[in-house]
């Protein structure tokens, strides 16, 4: 028997009807992207104010006091602790009492007059992208009374805990992938289990519908929903956080399409393994967490140990994070991204085959 578009259409439009009736799932389609973009987005908001700061003014001259006053006047930091040494500030930083430490060296006046070395040091909790961004802003502020000929940055910023100083703009495009991984897998992982739990499957498998028609019909509606979510996240990112879009939209449509298909079939496979909707939820999270942590979304991929990298190459999200960042932020085209696209295609074919092998039009 050959595949029937009519039957695939029947399954797909039925899934749409379920979605329309199921307020919670329907709400999740827009709710999760909006919520996560806002949550992650405010974490990358550079306009930070009133961070707790500590001061170690080793010079204690009029000029050094003026510098400290100027720093406070930016409203980025509030000086809440005064200490005598840089080491004491470091200790406060480690304890989490302060997130920025300002060290003004004893030879401050001489540095200010000279040209070579920075005039002061900012100790920053660099593990926190908000703080790191804020400190960078501080470092660029004009220093009153400094020699016009100075070539060096006025402050030396020392970022603790995150020496890589990852650009926070990476977060929003990568977030598209994280959101799609979560919602796409979740929606399809319950797609077949739900029919089984509600007793619909016994009727469905007694009809002439074929396994592949059923699988394709179940993922088609969600591909559209996936595009909707990508558009939503990138639009929010652009409007609220000024995330640029440098590549071609069509390239992203292709890249996201392959990724969404791969993620949806992972969900379908879970749906053929799980016996209850709750199990499907659990398995979804089991596959989601390592993807989020190891894909390069949260932590720089190059910094991970080799075994973790090898494992992560098998995750769809890893490839999509690279694709979406390359297209959105660096304006790359698909031709350049071929090494990231084909693994997604392979993943799709394997997951679909496994799902079809596991799914029998039988009850035993």
């Amino acid at each position: 028997m050959k595949l029937s578009i009519t039957r695939i259409g029947a399954i797909a439009s039925k899934e749409f009807l379920h979605l329309r009736r199921d307020r919670l799932t329907g709400g999740m389609i827009a709710g999760i992207p909006i919520m996560m973009t806002l949550l992650f987005g405010f974490a990358i908001n550079q306009d930070v104010r009133h961070l707790h700061a500590g001061l170690a003014d080793l010079a204690n001259t009029q000029a050094s006091r003026a510098l400290a006053a100027d720093v406070v006047a930016t409203q980025v930091v509030d000086i809440v602790e005064h200490r005598a040494t840089a080491a004491e500030l470091e200790e406060l930083l480690v304890r989490g009492r302060i997130s920025v430490g300002l060290v003004i060296p004893a030879d401050f006046e001489r540095r200010l007059a000279g040209s070579g070395r920075p005039i002061a040091q900012l100790l920053v909790d660099g593990g926190d992208p908000i703080v790191l961004g804020a400190a960078r802003g501080l470092a660029g502020m004009p220093i009153p009374g400094a020699a016009a000929s100075r070539s060096a940055e006025p402050f030396a910023v020392r970022a603790y805990f995150n020496p890589e100083r990852r650009s926070s703009i990476h977060i929003v495009p990568g977030l598209c992938g994280v959101i799609l991984t979560l919602t796409m897998t979740l929606f399809t992982s319950i797609a077949i289990v739900r029919e089984r739990e509600h007793g619909n499957l016994e009727l469905l498998i007694t009809t002439p519908v074929q396994t592949l028609e059923l699988m394709v019909g179940k993922i088609v509606p969600y591909v559209l929903i996936g595009y909707l979510q990508v558009a939503l996240v990138l639009t929010l990112g652009a409007v609220l956080f000024e995330v640029p879009f440098r590549g071609a939209v069509l390239d992203l449509v292709v890249g996201a399409g392959v990724f969404v298909a791969a993620t949806l079939t992972l969900g379908l496979f879970i749906s053929t393994v799980a016996t209850t909707q709750f199990q499907a939820f659990q398995l979804t999270f089991v596959t989601f967490l390592p993807q989020m942590l190891l894909s390069g979304f949260m932590f720089p991929f190059d910094g991970m140990p080799r075994p973790a990298q090898i494992l992560a190459e098998g995750f769809p999200l890893t490839h999509f994070v690279r694709i979406v960042r390359a297209i959105v932020l660096r304006g790359a085209d698909l031709e350049q991204l071929r090494p990231e696209i084909w693994p997604l295609g392979v993943f799709f074919v394997i997951a679909m085959s496994l799902a079809m092998l596991r799914f029998r039009k039988r009850l035993d």
Partner: protein
């Protein structure tokens, strides 16, 4: 009308279903035990049996939903374990549990199935409208299936199972959640369907429904313990049926159960119904005498068996269990 489209005449055609030693095990449990069946075409064939007797399992094997552990089946000339796909366009199956989508409306459910059966757009529309009218669901067309009453759900399920006009219809306990009037209407519909050429296999545990079937198979613990037309089964019962009117019927019932030749006693209002070994001579007099000896006054007389008697006689303890 072309001749090859006329439905085959019931008497001459191949049977709709034939099974040989059909068996299904779940682990150690033998759910269906070597069943041999022949279901003729254009008949209502009943499966009568208590819960767990293997009715659903047998039906599932015949639909190709479960593979037999042993034995074979032929359904409309096809082997359901190999030709399930070809079979599925020709059979309808109404599951024991309501299996349509509760969050879809009546008409959405029917449209979905019409599309799954690859009907053309025009055909879909006419068939759905026909079924809505026929099963009295037109006014409920836009109601969500989950909010229908038991009888309405059952009509919808039958409308769905017959949407593609199958030759053979499997109905698994279709009337368990339905009031008596709906049950009567339902059976009228079944006879109409048979008139139009369909064959129906229906499972039930209601005696009055079983009695309406053209033929009956009684299942017990996976075994086929009796089969035939209801009238035949009642005539051929391997026991004498004695009706007893006693003053103290509970005591009389207990007393009768102690007698070795009494197979079973059932109370029907004020009267008792006893099944007695058929080789016993003058059974009514023997019972009356036995009761009198126990100081119980009673009037006993022999009567004809009803289907419940047949069922009780067929499903009582296995022969090897009694002396």
């Amino acid at each position: 009308m072309q001749t090859e489209l006329t439905p085959p005449n019931g008497a001459s055609a191949e049977p709709a279903i034939r099974t040989h030693g059909l068996t299904r095990r779940f682990g150690d449990l033998v759910a269906v035990d070597k069943i041999d069946l022949t279901v003729p075409r254009q008949r209502i064939f009943g499966f009568l049996g208590p819960n767990g007797s293997g009715k659903s399992t047998t039906i599932r094997m015949l639909c190709g939903l479960l593979l037999p552990s042993e034995g074979s089946a032929e359904v409309l000339g096809l082997d359901p374990s190999r030709d399930a796909e070809a079979l599925r366009t020709r059979i309808g199956y109404m599951t024991q549990r309501f299996s349509l989508y509760e969050d879809l409306s009546v008409v959405e459910n029917l449209r979905f199935l019409a599309q799954i059966h690859s009907m053309t757009r025009d055909r879909r529309k006419t068939r759905v409208d026909e079924q809505l009218a026929r099963f009295d669901l037109a006014v409920r067309a836009d109601q969500l299936a989950g909010t229908l009453s038991g009888g309405q759900k059952q009509r919808l399920a039958l409308a769905a199972a017959t949407l593609h006009e199958p030759e053979l219809l499997f109905l698994d306990e279709p009337t368990s959640a339905v009031d008596p009037q709906s049950r009567r209407d339902f059976w009228e519909t079944l006879f109409d369907l048979v008139d139009q050429g369909a064959t129906i296999l229906v499972s039930t545990h209601f005696m009055d429904e079983a009695e309406r079937c053209h033929e009956l198979a009684i299942l017990d613990e996976g075994r086929l313990v009796a089969s035939g037309e209801p009238q035949e089964l009642m005539a051929a019962i391997d026991a004498a049926v004695i009706e007893i009117e006693a003053q103290r019927s509970r005591e009389a019932s207990k007393q009768l159960e102690t007698l070795p030749y009494v197979q079973s006693v059932a109370q029907l209002g004020n009267r008792l119904h006893a099944l007695v070994d058929s080789n016993l001579e003058e059974p009514a007099a023997r019972l009356q005498h036995a009761l009198a000896e126990a100081g119980l006054e009673a009037r006993c007389r022999e009567t004809t068996a009803n289907l419940e008697d047949v069922f009780v006689a067929a499903t009582r303890d296995r022969p090897e269990a009694s002396p």
